[in-house]
């Protein structure tokens, strides 16, 4: 038998150039270089007063021959030993946990991808020289030696410190793309997103071509906001902090071995380092819904590895036999979500591209378990599978916020009829652009509140005395003359203004008084732009208990005021007889005044007023009175009604099932087959009462009529029933409910030709039903 012989496998240095063929996008390359700086800052602690990294990319006018990319930090800098170690580590070590400050494989890939020549220049405070190492891939390849030359460059000022990486001889494609302003904007946004934690919480400064990169901040409800479910208050932010036992990390393969291990349990090497481990962060509720912009961020060393990740919303059984089931969002057809979060798990190894964690590790599974628990988030499904109740932070948020019904019950902005999803998202854009008015969740909260207390004409008071003690002695705010002789009877519309104040009231004070007695009409708010008339940013107020007057002291049901262009405020006196007695629509009249303001502003009253109103109306979020729009509204409401019926029905699901005709049962099963998520079997749906979600509208009515006591009295509808003893009274209550419900059912099952008046009637029926729906949590 011969001795072992060897084949030489030393790679040709040309392989270095091939590193650059690995698919790293521009921002990833720059992030790799920035990571080194940020790692150094985190290791340095307080030693660097204002940690700053400046990236410079070539200008659009640059020439490739001289163009370069630099990433410069003001960290502590490195000694010759340290920089030797750092640079060679990238080539010679396969360290999985990357000692901080060392350049890893990502450094090599990124620099090779961008250009052919890289210079690292570093120095510590007080050192007399800069150390300048050059990695020239072409030269290394030609020399067939893995060697990088360095030189010492005298420093002008010994106080200078930090590290600068410069990449030159840029590849043609990279240069052409990187100098585009559009590419630079994308990089700016990406870096602002993945480093948002370090930029906002640690105060690191990151600039690109001399302009600060702004962190992309989460737009979430304040942690003080709560909803109540089954008597438990659920806060909109849940904190997570889980200390894990320290373990020994293998510097070679990344495996975590127990404390007493001498060598890695996975690969047998002895390069173990003791590390503290912790999972921490928060999950919360975003102030707007989005199809893709939701999900959890997972961070390692402050950088987001996973952004808006949605795998926590899937339930997977422990054996992994079945397909993972989506649990959120499942309650709406639109599939929009709003659960977000920021989870730090520094101990979990990412892949070399830093775009994912190694998901098949115990560490990653533990992170998922900490956030979402092991059981399904859906309590009934958990119960059915005999799994323990899920009490994880995510399950709690899920219980509180899974649905998207407008109002305070789910913290969703609305206008009294519909959710204002689009508006909520527009406000988030303002929040992220730094608009101070949208930094707190106040605007969103006001809109959610307004949904429950919509702006409408004040109802006729039962007594003439709204505010006892005020009323008769009114003054005109502008001229101070007594105005105690209103032509119409307005004693119930008292003003709460003392005489002496009124006499001196300025325009500002008067408007402030209106605002103090008003609620915003958020559905009218927003930017309106008409080609000939320009733009206004409208704010609308429904004023109660205050008589409105124009600047020259004339009474009016609606007034407008522009304090600072383009912000226009419209004030509506909701108690005015025009609304209260004649039933005029407050929103329409508000838009008439806005239209008049706009045409007077451009001094062009030849434009027909009603045409301007039409164009303004088209820009509001108010739903159109078309058969399709009304049908959609009624369908949505019916879905809400059905969903709310599940719980009361679940006690005895056989009763309603027996009430269905043969066709209705077949219909129900067909709808179930098409619309259900696939997580529940038909048999389960029958036994849990879930089938109610899929029954035809006519059956909804029949089931409610059959046992009103099951659904009224706050079960599905607020209306009281059982407390009435007279059978006639009971029948009336049911009739008042069934009548509008039948309107909805009509549209659900047919698309009849309807004229405007009929459509109006159905819309009103929708509102009546919406008003009557109980808190169905």
């Amino acid at each position: 038998m011969s001795e072992d012989q060897f084949i030489n496998v030393t790679p040709h240095p040309r392989i270095l150039g091939v590193l650059g063929d690995i698919e790293f996008s521009h921002w990833q390359c720059l992030a790799e270089l920035t990571d080194n700086c940020f790692d150094e800052f985190q290791a340095a602690g307080e030693a660097v007063i204002r940690p700053a990294v400046s990236i410079s990319l070539p200008a659009a006018t640059s020439r490739r021959a001289t163009a370069e990319i630099t990433v410069q930090d003001n960290g502590r800098g490195m000694s010759l030993d340290a920089v030797t170690n750092a640079i060679s580590a990238g080539w010679t070590s396969n360290g999985r946990h990357g000692s901080l400050g060392l350049f890893g494989m990502g450094f090599n890939i990124s620099t090779a991808r961008l250009g052919r020549r890289t210079t690292v220049r570093t120095s510590r405070e007080g050192d007399p020289h800069w150390i300048e190492v050059t990695l020239d891939l072409v030269e290394i390849a030609n020399s067939s030696k893995y060697q990088a030359p360095y030189r010492l460059v005298p420093k002008d000022h010994p106080g200078e410190h930090g590290t600068t990486v410069t990449i030159s001889e840029l590849k043609q494609e990279q240069h052409a793309t990187l100098c585009r302003p559009q590419t630079q904007n994308v990089i700016r946004e990406k870096l602002g997103d993945i480093y948002s934690y370090l930029l906002s919480e640690k105060g690191f400064l990151l600039t690109l071509n001399g302009k600060k990169i702004k962190p992309r901040l989460p737009c979430i409800w304040d942690e003080k906001r709560t909803v109540a479910r089954q008597g438990v208050e659920i806060h909109a932010v849940q904190w997570i902090e889980k200390e894990l036992s320290p373990k020994k990390a293998c510097m070679a393969c990344g495996y975590w071995s127990p404390l007493d291990a001498e060598a890695c349990e996975e690969c047998g090497q002895a390069r173990l380092e003791l590390r503290e481990r912790k999972i921490w962060g928060w999950i919360g509720i975003q102030r707007y819904l989005h199809r893709t912009d939701y999900g959890l961020d997972f961070l390692r060393n402050g950088r987001k590895i996973l952004q808006r990740d949605k795998r926590v919303f899937y339930w997977e059984d422990e054996d992994g036999l079945a397909e993972p089931e989506l649990e959120y969002p499942i309650d709406s057809k639109t599939q929009m979500g709003r659960i977000v979060g920021e989870i730090h798990c520094d101990h979990v190894a990412p892949n070399y591209m830093k775009t994912a964690f190694e998901v098949e590790t115990a560490e990653w599974r533990q992170v998922l378990r900490e956030v979402r628990g092991s059981s399904p988030l859906r309590p009934k499904i958990a119960e059915k599978r005999r799994l323990p109740e899920n009490r994880s932070p995510l399950a709690l948020l899920y219980a509180g916020f899974r649905r998207q019904d407008p109002g305070l019950n789910y913290l969703i902005p609305g206008d009294g009829r519909n959710a204002l999803h689009e508006k909520a998202a527009q406000w988030a854009v303002r929040m992220r652009s730094g608009d101070p008015e949208y930094q707190t969740d106040e605007a969103w909260y006001r809109a959610a509140y307004q949904h429950d207390h919509p702006a409408a004409a004040d109802p006729q008071p039962e007594s003439e005395e709204i505010l006892p003690g005020f009323g008769a002695n009114l003054l005109e705010p502008q001229n101070g003359e007594a105005a105690d002789t209103p032509e119409r009877d307005e004693t119930d519309r008292a003003e709460v203004l003392p005489e002496n104040l009124a006499a001196e009231e300025t325009v500002d004070q008067r408007l402030q008084r209106y605002r103090a007695h008003a609620t915003p009409v958020v559905d009218l708010e927003g930017t309106y732009f008409l080609e000939d008339l320009g733009r206004v940013d409208l704010i609308a107020w429904a004023v109660g208990g205050q008589r409105l007057a124009t600047n020259d002291g004339r009474d009016a049901p609606v007034i407008v005021s522009m304090l600072r262009a383009p912000r226009l405020e419209v004030f509506i006196d909701t108690a005015h007889p025009l609304f209260r007695e004649f039933g005029a629509d407050i929103r329409d009249l508000a838009l008439v005044e806005v239209a008049e303001f706009m045409r007077v502003r451009v001094n062009n009253v030849s434009l027909p007023l009603t045409e301007i109103v039409t164009q303004l109306k088209a820009q509001t979020s108010s739903p159109r009175l078309t058969p399709a729009a009304v049908a959609e509204e009624s369908e949505r409401l019916l879905e809400q009604v059905r969903a709310a019926m599940v719980t009361p029905v679940s006690a005895n699901p056989a009763v309603p099932w027996l009430l269905l005709t043969k066709e209705e049962r077949a219909d129900t099963e067909r709808r179930f087959a098409v619309e259900s998520g696939g997580g529940t079997s038909w048999n389960d749906a029958l036994t849990t009462g879930e089938f109610i979600r899929y029954i035809p509208a006519t059956a909804v009515i029949r089931i409610i009529q059959d046992s009103p006591d099951t659904f009224l009295d706050g079960h599905v509808f607020k209306r009281g029933y059982m407390a009435l003893s007279d059978p006639g009274a009971r029948a009336l209550v049911v009739e008042r409910l069934i009548s509008p419900l039948s309107d909805l059912a009509l549209l659900d099952q047919h698309r009849p030709r309807l004229d405007t008046e009929e459509l109006t009637r159905i819309r009103i029926s929708c509102r009546l039903i919406a008003r009557d729906l109980a808190d169905n949590s």
């Binding site: 002008d156 000022h157 600068t164 400064l205 001399g210």
Partner: protein, 209 residues
């Protein structure tokens, strides 16, 4: 303009507040659009606009913020002008520049610091030299000022191009600047400066608005 008659104490509180916010925002790294937005926000800020509007029209208030505190902001950070005491952080001053330009032994001549561009005279024994400094973007002004000075005095002037954390100059730009300076007979040096907490700062918790 009525705003000029701001009571001294009000004016001081406003300057402290505006400079405090500018420091927090990293004003020097904002884009023009972001700066415009900030001027609008200051007008709407009850601590700034809310106070100023009591003394004049909105347009005057806007002009005041832009032309008084913010026009002086960069100079205040240099330690030059009447507003130095409001800057939260600043550079060390002209001595550091002169050291960088000419080396040890040179000092700033008393009362010789001026602006547009920032400059001073440095002395060493009986010699005196003109030194001006600024960011790379002001290189044209620095060259013009230096050449004008040399034309009148015959002394060789020095330019210091300064950078701060978050700011870099490409080697190509640097090379070009060096060629121009050599051609014009001007010394050119580069200095990366670090900010320090302003020793003359007057804003503290008690005086914040």
């Amino acid at each position: 303009m009525p705003l000029q008659q701001l009571p001294a104490s009000v004016r001081e509180r406003l300057l402290i507040e505006i400079y405090r916010q500018a420091n927090e925002l990293d004003w020097e790294f904002l884009s023009n659009g972001e700066k415009t937005n900030q001027y609008r926000r200051w007008i709407e800020d009850p601590r700034v606009g809310g106070v100023l509007l009591a003394f004049g029209e909105e347009k005057d208030a806007r002009v005041w913020i832009k032309d008084v505190p913010m026009k002086e902001y960069a100079r205040a950070q240099e330690g030059i002008g009447h507003y130095v005491r409001y800057a939260v952080n600043r550079f060390r001053g002209a001595e550091e520049i002169v050291q960088a330009a000419l080396g040890d032994g040179w000092n700033v001549r008393r009362n010789s610091i001026g602006e547009k561009p920032n400059h001073c005279y440095a002395t060493h024994g009986g010699s005196s030299r003109y030194v001006c400094w600024g960011r790379a973007g002001t290189f044209r002004d620095l060259i013009w000022a230096s050449v004008s000075e040399a034309a009148n005095t015959g002394e060789r002037p020095a330019i210091v191009i300064t950078t701060r954390d978050g700011e870099t100059i490409s080697r190509a730009d640097r090379h070009q600047q060096e060629k121009i300076a050599a051609h014009c007979g001007v010394d050119l040096k580069y200095l990366h400066r670090y900010m320090i907490p302003n020793p003359e700062y007057v804003g503290n918790l008690d005086s914040e608005v």
